[in-house]
Subunit: 247 residues, 3 copies
C-alpha cells in the first residue's frame, strides 16, 4: 500500500536528481519516506536520494518497492503548475501508479523492479578533505572546464588552504581557485582527483544554485557531493568514480 | 477593389486560426468583412473564420475572392510591432496585394483561387451536448493526452453532469474531468467521440488561453468548437471529424 | 608586453563586431588601444575596429600583434557575469594569453599571426551620399528584405531626399523609405548599390539597436557603415562590396 500527496516542485526536484544519471530506478517505499539508490550503466556515477515523510502533505505506506520510468513519471508531474499538489496511489493489483493533479487523473504502468539494474552499495569512504561550497560555484567550475576539456581535476591545496578546479585541454586550460573566505567551509587534506566532465555536468544540472554542497575529496579517490532539496526534507548524495590521471 | 487598414494583432490572430490547418486559402472579400473557409488535405479538420468589418480601422471592397499563401502573408504582417497598423490594398491588374506598415511597403503575389482546394461546406449538425470551457482547459487536456497517446476522447457524463477527456496509450492513460463549477456552461447529452490528437494540437495553438470556447459534441460525431478573436469582432469555428473508436 | 583590464561587456561587444565576419584575426596592440582589421575569406566584407585605451580600466603594452581564435576568446569572456572585469596578460614565452575573471584563470593558446589572412587595406572612398540612421532601422530593413530575397538595394532619392531600401524576390518585393524626419541626418547624392543580404545580416547582428549608424553610399560602390561601441570609446567600420546589379 502506498498513498501520498506531495507538492509537484518537491517531487520534481527529487526525481530530477536521479534522472540525470539513470532512465529507470527502484523507489523504496519506506516508513520514513521514499529512498532511491541508483548507478549509471557504466558504474561511474551513483546517487542516493531520500525524501523524508515530512516533505509530503500526507504519506502512508506499508513498505515495498516500485520500479518507474523516470522520464514518464516526470512528464506526469510536469503537468502540474508550480505549487500544485500531486496525489500518488499504488494500485497493487494492476501494478500501476495512479496520479492525480486537480481534475487530471493519470495511470502510469510500473516496471518490474527485478528488471532494473541492482541498487549499488554506496561505500563508506574516509576521505581526507571536505569542502562546502555554493551550488553556483560548482556550476561556474563545470562551465569553465567544459570550454577546454572533457575531464576536470578537483583538489585541495593544503598550504594555501584553497579548493581548486583545473581543466587542461590540448592547447588551453582553466583554473578556478576558491580560498577560505569564498568557501562556506574547508577541512584541508591531501586531495586531488580527476573526473569525467560529462558526469559532473549531469550532476550539476540537479544541484540547486543556492544549495550548500558538501564535497568530500581524496587522492585519486571518488568524490562525494551532499546537498539538500525540498527545504532540507530531502537529501541527495552523488558519488563519482575518478578517472585514471592522464599525463 | 479591396482596401483595408487593420491592426497587425487582429489580422495575425485571424490568419493564425486558419494556417494551423492549411498552407493556402481563399479569402472572401465580403461587404461585411473577410471570410475564410478551409479544410485540410485529409478532409478531417475544417475552419470557418469571419473577421467583421468593425474589426478594421477602415474597410472598403466591392467583393471578390483572393488566394493567399498564409505563411508568406503572416511573415509580412509579422514585420509590424504590436499595435501597429497594416494597410492592405489589392492591385486588380497585377493580382498582387500591396501591404504597408509605417514606412515599409511590400508586394505579395496572390495565388489563383482556382488552384486552391475547394472551400468545404461546414454541415449544420444537431449535436446533443454543449460545453463551454476556457481555452486554457483545452490546452491542459491536449497536453495531458499527448503524454500517453495520439488520440483523445471527449465526452459528457450525463449522470454526473461532467465533461471529460480521456486518452489511453499502450500502458498509460490520463483522464481529465471538469464538473459544472469548473465549466462556464454545460448542456448535458449523450456524447462521446474519439479524435486525432494531431489535429486538436494544431487547433489548440490558435485558441486564446483566455477565450470562452463553446464545444458541441455528439456520439461518434464530429466536434465543433466556436470562439471569438479580435475582441469579439472575429469568429472562428473548427470542426473535426471523429476517428473510428479503437478497442 | 601586454596587460590590460576591461569590462567583459566592452570586450565582448568589440570581439562580436569582428567575429560576425571572420573566425580568426590579428589584434594589434597599439599604444592607444587595440585595433583589428579583417576581411572575410571571399573578400566581400571588411571590418575595422579600434578599442581606445580609455575603454580599459588599465592598459599597458609595448606593442606587437597577437593572433586569436575569436570563438575561443569569446567563450572565455562569456564566463564573466555582466559588469565583471576581465584581466588579460600576454605570456611572451609560451605565446599564450592569460585570462582572469575573479577566481577563474584561463590560458588561451594564440595563433601564429603569420598564419592568419593578411589584414585588408580599407580604401578611402569619396562616397557621394551620407545617411545617419538608428541601428533599429537597419535591423528592420534587413528583416524585411530577408522575407523576399537574398540581396538588398540601398539608395538615396535625391529629389525626395529619402533613404530607401529595396528587395525584390521572384514574386514578392519590399520597400522601406525613410524621409528626412525619420533620419538622424542625410547628405543626398547619387547613390544606389546592391548588396548580398547574408553579409548585411551578419553585420546587423553586431550593430547595437540604439546606435547611430553613419552609412556612406555611392552608385554601384561599396557601402561603409560606422558606429560606436563601448560608450564611444570603441569605433567600428564595416565595408561591404556591392553585387553586380542583376537583370
Amino acid at each position: 500500500m502506498f498513498k501520498a500527496i506531495v507538492s509537484a516542485d518537491t517531487l520534481g526536484a527529487a526525481l530530477d536528481s536521479v534522472s540525470v544519471l539513470v532512465d529507470e530506478c527502484k523507489i523504496n517505499l519506506n516508513d520514513d519516506g521514499l529512498a532511491i539508490r541508483a548507478v549509471d550503466p557504466a558504474n561511474v556515477g551513483m546517487v542516493d536520494l531520500t525524501l523524508d515523510e515530512s516533505a509530503f502533505e500526507s504519506y502512508e505506506t506499508d513498505g515495498g518497492v516500485i520500479g518507474v520510468n523516470l522520464a514518464r513519471l516526470e512528464e506526469f508531474v510536469g503537468m502540474a503548475d508550480a505549487g500544485q499538489l500531486v496525489q500518488l496511489e499504488l494500485d497493487e493489483e494492476t501494478r500501476k501508479l495512479h496520479i492525480q493533479i486537480e481534475g487530471l487523473e493519470g495511470t502510469l504502468a510500473l516496471i518490474d523492479p527485478e528488471s532494473i539494474r541492482k541498487e549499488p552499495d554506496i561505500p563508506d569512504l574516509d576521505l581526507p578533505a571536505t569542502i562546502v561550497v555554493e551550488g553556483k560555484d560548482i556550476d561556474r567550475a563545470v562551465k569553465a572546464a567544459d570550454m577546454v576539456s572533457d575531464h576536470i581535476a578537483l583538489g585541495v591545496d593544503e598550504t594555501e588552504e584553497t579548493f581548486y578546479v583545473e581543466a587542461e585541454g590540448d592547447t588551453d586550460d582553466v583554473h578556478l581557485t576558491l580560498g577560505r573566505d569564498e568557501l562556506i567551509d574547508l577541512v584541508a587534506g591531501e586531495a586531488r582527483s580527476l573526473f569525467s566532465l560529462d558526469y559532473l555536468k549531469d550532476m550539476n544540472k540537479a544541484i540547486p544554485k543556492d544549495a550548500e554542497v558538501e564535497i568530500e575529496l581524496g587522492q585519486e579517490f571518488p568524490v562525494k557531493m551532499h546537498f539538500d532539496i525540498a527545504e532540507a526534507q530531502g537529501q541527495v548524495t552523488y558519488m563519482l568514480a575518478p578517472r585514471i590521471q592522464s599525463d
